[in-house]
């Protein structure tokens, strides 16, 4: 695997990032669009982003458990394909909000709702254009110590605490706790 990817820190050059590239608090999530725990934690991540604003650099990498979550690979590819059309985060949010409906037809519908080229998106998804990148995400997670989803790294350290707003915020901003 590529040794150049920082395994436990978001890389603004490579990753889908949100917030400020100069943010001093760096949060990296490894997630799976069909994982119920990832969907549950999604509003918490949103609230963290709102509260920490430009102090936060948030990055997301794919960690699809494709055998237990049969839609997770195509969902991840749809998010990547949306990223190519400059709307990764729109698709990312839509997928988590509609976790129970992730067939290819649904993915095309979400693309249309987001104003994307759905035909292109589905063509890219069904021809696995982004599969190598997703695999690279997955491998970096495995080597970084991801042992399930979601896994968060705060400033490069795996967060093993409770996945609620209070505990995550405390871990992200220890000086103000």
């Amino acid at each position: 695997m590529s040794a150049r990817i920082p395994l436990t820190l978001p890389d603004p050059e490579r990753d889908h990032i949100s917030g400020s590239a100069d943010g001093l608090i760096r949060l990296l999530e490894y997630g799976d669009y069909e994982c119920p725990f990832c969907a549950e934690v999604q509003p918490i991540v949103k609230e963290i982003q709102r509260r920490l604003s430009d102090d936060l650099l948030f990055g997301f990498r794919n960690f699809p458990l494709t055998n237990i979550h049969p839609h997770s690979e195509h969902a991840a590819e749809a998010a990547e394909a949306a990223g190519t059309q400059k709307n990764f985060w729109g698709m990312h949010d839509t997928l988590f909000e509609n976790q129970g409906s992730l067939d290819d037809d649904d993915l095309a519908e979400y693309a249309a709702e987001l104003g994307l080229d759905g035909t292109r998106l589905i063509r890219e998804v069904t021809s696995s254009v982004y599969a190598p990148r997703i695999r690279e995400d997955f491998k970096s997670g495995v080597r970084g110590g991801v042992n399930g989803t979601p896994t968060f790294f705060i400033n490069g350290e795996r967060y093993d605490g409770t996945l609620d707003l209070k505990h995550l915020l405390n871990a992200l901003t220890p000086q103000s706790a």
């Binding site: 725990f37 458990l65 055998n67 237990i68 495995v142 080597r143 991801v146 042992n147 399930g148 989803t149």
Partner: protein, 161 residues
């Protein structure tokens, strides 16, 4: 638990209701033994589900992955089908936990295997071992590092055997 450098005790256990696997059959390639407490633990953080996704990485080292718990072969069969596992689960079922005991990773109190990992080299010698707290999925990184280390070692020891 058995330490690196020790000969891995051989065993023959059922992998399906009518088939068995012996460790000695797997000589000539690295073997990863993953002892775990029980089938049917919560899914997204499940160790076996994770390893199922990392089989390609293990395969890069020609390593064979084997899961072992005290669950019976029929239970393993249902669990493996449910999670679409593509590697064997062995039943350390009768006498219960005998193999886990031989490796020093049987939890007498709970009557289950501990969450323990062994990387065994192609000659059947334990190269690396690790026991994780039962509630903590140890992930795959330690295994992959051990397999890398094993490969480096075999490359730098010309014609050892």
């Amino acid at each position: 638990m058995l330490s690196p450098g020790t000969q891995a005790p051989d065993f023959t256990l059922r992998c399906t209701p009518d088939q068995s696997v012996s460790l000695s059959e797997l000589r000539g390639q690295p073997v990863v033994l993953a002892f775990y407490p029980a089938d049917w633990s919560p899914v997204c953080g499940d160790q076996m589900a994770l390893y199922n996704e990392t089989l390609d990485e293990f395969q890069e080292f020609q390593a064979e992955l084997i899961g072992i718990s005290v669950d019976g072969a029929w239970c393993h069969d249902a669990f493996a089908k449910h999670n679409k596992l593509h590697f064997p689960l062995l039943a350390d079922f009768e006498p219960k936990g005998a193999v886990a005991r031989a490796y020093g990773v049987y939890d007498e109190k709970d009557g289950t295997c501990e969450r323990a990992l062994f990387v065994i080299d192609s000659d059947g010698i334990i190269h690396w071992s690790y026991v994780s707290p039962t509630g903590v999925n140890p992930g795959a990184n330690g295994i992959l590092s051990a397999l890398e280390d094993l490969r480096t070692k075999s490359e730098t020891t010309p014609a050892a055997k």
